[in-house]
């Protein structure tokens, strides 16, 4: 079980310094994200570009330092202590990336690429067993072993993403972190990769964190969806509930803009006016208040906590006194 509690990530930026000796400004990239994820389940994370989705999963993987908060995997904290513990952690937590071709070493054959994690994480394995495991994994993701001695440039984008998945899963991790894994792929290939991920999840009992900006894809792969804005959680709900009846004004605006592949459906996107707050200097109130069509006076001064409402959890004061039967409204 992967547990993230109140994660905060900041990055120092030198450009905003007034004098050479003034302290660096801090970009608040992730502001208090919490979630739990069980084996075999998928959490989708959506939000606009720059909302901190990628930073969040880098923090979960221990690649971006947390300034406060905790990430634990099966009770063990995810943080750098020493090489050995980091290596143990990486064996259980793997990542796949957005650009499938750039994330494979062009000078290694795909056999070498997929064998490498085994060399690191499974030193007890014999050389021959490693080769066979790697070839079996490649075969499982749909790359025939006759092509195992080829280099990444000889494969298409979709095949490279399959190879990336094989590399991530060959050592049998528990958690797979996916950073926009299908946004660089064509629609027909995207569906293949999403289906492959779902099959492998079922076979291996993987917990998947799936970051994407495409709500349609996230809806299909996720059990639960987390909507982020300015690095903070806006709403968390089971995928179907979020799509059919979003509670948070930001989630509502985001969903209203999703194009529908049906010429008879006219979408009426909600336009968000107003400016984003600066990530260097966060407002004390709700982060979305400056653009929220339903903002009240207290939204500007106090930051709403996550409020439970049926299956939903949303950081919005409107839910405080919302009657429960609102659930049936759609």
């Amino acid at each position: 079980m992967l547990i993230v509690e109140n994660a905060h990530v900041t990055f120092p930026v030198a450009q905003t310094k007034k004098w050479p000796w003034s302290p660096p400004g801090l970009v608040h990239a992730v502001n208090g994200i919490s979630f739990e994820l069980e084996a075999g389940k998928t959490l989708g994370i959506v939000g606009e570009s720059g909302c901190g989705k990628s930073t969040l999963i880098r923090a979960v993987a221990g690649l971006a330092p947390l300034v406060s908060g905790n990430v634990t995997l099966d009770g063990e904290p995810v943080a750098y202590r020493d090489r050995a513990s980091m290596q143990r952690l990486r064996a259980t937590m793997q990542m796949i990336f957005q650009d499938p071709i750039a994330s494979l070493n062009p000078r290694m054959t795909i056999r070498e690429i997929v064998v490498e994690p085994l060399t690191f994480f499974k030193p007890e394995m014999g050389a021959e067993e490693r080769q066979n495991t790697a070839l079996a994994m490649l075969d499982r993701v749909g790359i025939p072993s006759t092509q195992a001695n080829r280099f990444p440039h000889e494969f298409s984008g979709g095949q490279c993403q399959r190879i990336g998945i094989a590399r991530a899963l060959v050592a049998g991790p528990k958690v797979l972190l996916c950073d926009e894994p299908v946004s660089a792929l064509d629609v027909s290939i995207q569906a293949q990769v999403v289906n492959l991920l779902k099959e492998l999840q079922r076979e291996m009992g993987l917990a998947i964190v799936f970051v994407a900006h495409d709500l349609g894809v996230v809806r299909h792969i996720s059990d639960e969806v987390l909507v982020m804005y300015m690095g903070a959680p806006m709403e968390r709900a089971p995928a179907a509930d979020l799509v059919s009846d979003p509670k948070h004004p930001y989630a509502q605006a985001l969903l209203s803009a999703v194009p529908v592949p049906d010429p008879r459906v006219r979408i009426t996107p909600q336009m968000l006016e107003g400016d984003l707050p600066s990530p260097l200097n966060l407002p004390s109130g709700c982060l979305f208040a400056s653009r929220c069509p339903k903002a009240m006076a207290k939204c500007k001064t106090a930051r709403p906590p996550m409020i439970r409402h049926g299956q939903h959890q949303a950081a919005c004061f409107l839910l405080e006194d919302a009657p429960m039967e609102a659930d049936s409204m759609a």
Partner: protein, 315 residues
């Protein structure tokens, strides 16, 4: 107005010939919105570049591109420059790389009308302000002096659209104008393009891979695969009764947010190899409905579809 006839585009590369566009014909009439849909490598962007006369040097072009009866492919660069911007404008995918980072927004906008229409600096600035209002850039007057990096992605794409509108062209080629943008911004930009089309009567040729965007915006759709037209139809007809197996597969593969079903229907296989000129249907290796004749006969576009199988027999 624009008529592309039997267009072939090939590239001479170190690895041999690449057949990017093969025998593509379509028309765009005045005030029409047409979508060219295809996946990466289907040749959709090369068609736009061929229309603008901006193809790479190693390209070989065959066929005709008639603009009000004149063949654009026979024009010299000088003659093309009179057509670019004034008659046909283009919007590229990445707004940052289509703007010059060293030039203010004002200069990038006014340069176009000064060069193409010989306007004075003052008239050009007035036009720039008008157009920036038209694309709804708030506080246009003070933003004129800003540089591209001071704008967000959506605002930059508005500026690129403003640049395309400066000379009020009759046709705008929009090459994946919203692919680099978030859904909320994408919705605003598509709304803006629709308004531009309505207010100025501009035709728009939208090049995209996103069928969701097409459904909300265009009247006509041309579906490309492997550099060939697979299907051509009105938007409603295409979405209601797709007549080509590729279009059907594509529509099923789009994750629909309202559809609760679990698995997506993928199209098996990989995109085609374009080193050979297709002798048979380029989609046949991935087609669920393919029969033996599909693998050795090249289907021609008839009644809006290039498929050897009758519509009734498709799965």
């Amino acid at each position: 107005m624009l008529s592309v006839e039997n267009l072939h585009i090939r590239f001479r590369t170190g690895d041999g010939l690449v057949h990017a566009v093969n025998d593509v014909s379509f028309e765009v009439s005045a005030g029409q919105q047409i979508a060219v849909v295809g996946e990466s490598g289907s040749g959709k962007s090369q068609i736009a570049l061929a229309i603008m006369g901006l193809l790479a040097k190693n390209a070989e072009v065959e066929g005709r591109i008639l603009w009000n009866g004149d063949d654009l492919l026979t024009k010299s660069n000088r003659e093309m420059n009179r057509i670019r911007a004034r008659e046909i404008g283009i919007i590229f995918q990445d707004p940052m790389s289509s703007l010059n980072p060293y030039m203010t927004i004002e200069r990038q906008l006014t340069e176009i009308v000064e060069n193409h229409e010989g306007l004075s600096r003052r008239d050009a600035r007035a036009r720039a302000l008008q157009v920036m209002d038209a694309v709804r850039i708030p506080d246009a007057k003070s933003r004129l002096r800003a540089y591209p990096h001071e704008f967000s992605g959506g605002m930059r794409q508005r500026i690129v659209i403003a640049m395309a509108l400066m000379c009020q062209p009759k046709l705008i080629l929009a090459d994946e104008p919203t692919t680099a943008l978030d859904v909320t911004v994408q919705a605003q930009i598509m709304q803006l393009l629709a308004d531009v089309q309505r207010d100025f009567g501009t035709s728009v040729m939208l090049i995209t891979h996103d069928l969701g965007v097409v459904a909300g915006f265009c009247e006509e759709v041309v579906v490309l695969y492997g550099g060939r037209i697979m299907e051509e139809a009105g938007t409603e007809a295409l979405f209601d009764q797709p007549a080509h197996p590729y279009t059907r597969g594509l529509l099923r593969a789009v994750p629909n947010i309202d559809d609760p079903s679990d698995a997506l229907t993928a199209i098996p296989g990989s995109p085609p190899n374009q080193h050979r000129f297709p002798q048979s249907c380029p989609f046949a290796p991935r087609c669920v409905d393919a029969v033996d004749t599909c693998r050795d006969t090249l289907p021609i576009l008839q009644q809006g579809r290039a498929c050897l199988r009758p519509v009734e027999e498709l799965t």
